[in-house]
Symmetry: C2
Subunit: 209 residues, 2 copies
DNA sequence: TCCGATACTGAGCGGGCGCTTAGAGTGCCC
DNA sequence: GGGCACTCTAAGCGCCCGCTCAGTATCGGA
């Protein structure tokens, strides 16, 4: 677990690509509010208030409340995909790359739980067009993990009777971390990442390391 | 996978314990609406309309919209706990009981996805008192699964370095089925249950069956 | 010094929300 | 048959929602 290390860190400059500054502050405020209360329970007045602005200011930078969610979701999914791609294209064997992918993906969900929660659980709040775009990104996420598992099976390292089903389960396990992980809990994101990498290697029937 | 068979079926008479009939129709309508759109995006007018009643009729049977969610959540959690208890108190070894617990729990999440979605993902929409009551039920759910795993470790059937962490992962895997399972998809609840039982046995290091 | 562009605010519009109330319909016990 | 308890509806109250718009402050360039 080293190749994808730098991409799975604590969201180094989070949302740095969002400009200008006011637009980024609004977006960060929206992420926090959506994560705490959910998209539908969050008001535009709440988002603007958290960013220290009047409700009307939001509409200078974003056309609607939904556009905020769309932007958050797309950036988040692109980040998730980048993390998995980095791990999948690593140099080790399938077991090493799968462990790397799982541990960095889990660290992203646990460490950036606020963002991950919005990204993974507010998909249904998007309109049809935006949702379709995001679903395409999710298919790419699935393909990355499936690719590693297929490599392991082809190399004889893994014993996996149902590759698509196991891929689904591995991703499901990682994603659900965003639901239960507690920042004030006893486990650090790194500990959960290591535990989950071990569990996933067992799931694919990789021999003991 | 047989002892918990009858309790994990297709919600045989769903919500049969809710009376009178009008109250049950409203509750079933609320489950569907909450599952489709989420609690906050569902209006009381929508719930009443689905039940074929006027908006005011809802308030004869329930004090608030939140009371509906609370009732749904409590009944659902009690059912989930019953399913796991039945499996945990089965007669086989730890491996058999764990496989039974996972497969029946997964079948409940996949087959009754509508209900399970509300039960598992609308917890935060409850007020503090109701949430505390539900969290107590969830701790009992966790204890049942942890008990089976501990039995397996004590008997030397399982190899589990981190029992609480593995318990968390097993439950997480099952619960997340309610998020991704698609009724129109290619897999039946039974198939997913069997696949997941196998994956979980690998996670706990149980020997091949 | 003035100008236009940009970023923002205060006030508020139309509408839908959760929930209430007055009263009508219905069936059961005496 | 009369009274009552129960169930449900039509109407609507007060509130807050997403979003708009006229107007103000600020600032770089000529």
């Amino acid at each position: 677990m080293s190749t994808a290390e730098e991409t799975a860190g604590a969201e180094m400059p989070p949302w740095a690509e969002v400009t200008p500054d006011a637009a980024r502050r609004l977006l960060v405020a929206a992420v926090e509010a959506f994560a705490e209360r959910g998209y539908h329970a969050t008001t535009t007045r709440d988002i603007a208030g958290r960013a220290g602005m009047s409700p009307a200011a939001l509409y200078i930078h974003y056309k609607t409340k939904e556009e905020l969610l769309h932007r958050i979701s797309r950036i988040g999914h692109e980040k998730a995909l980048e993390i998995l791609r980095t791990a999948a294209q690593g140099e080790g064997g399938a077991a090493e790359r799968l462990a790397d992918a799982v541990s960095s993906f889990v660290r992203w969900h646990a460490g950036g739980r606020t963002t991950a929660r919005v990204v993974q659980y507010e998909l249904d709040s998007l309109g049809p067009d935006a949702r379709a775009e995001i679903i395409a990104l999710r298919r790419q996420v699935d393909a990355e993990v499936r690719g590693i598992i297929q490599d392991g099976v082809a190399a004889g390292d893994f014993d996996v009777p149902d590759v698509p089903g196991t891929t689904l389960a591995v991703l499901s396990l990682c994603i659900d971390v965003a639901r239960w992980f507690n920042v004030n809990g006893t486990r650090t994101p790194e500990e959960v990442g290591a535990l989950y990498a071990d569990l996933v290697l067992r799931m694919v029937g990789a021999g003991p390391r």
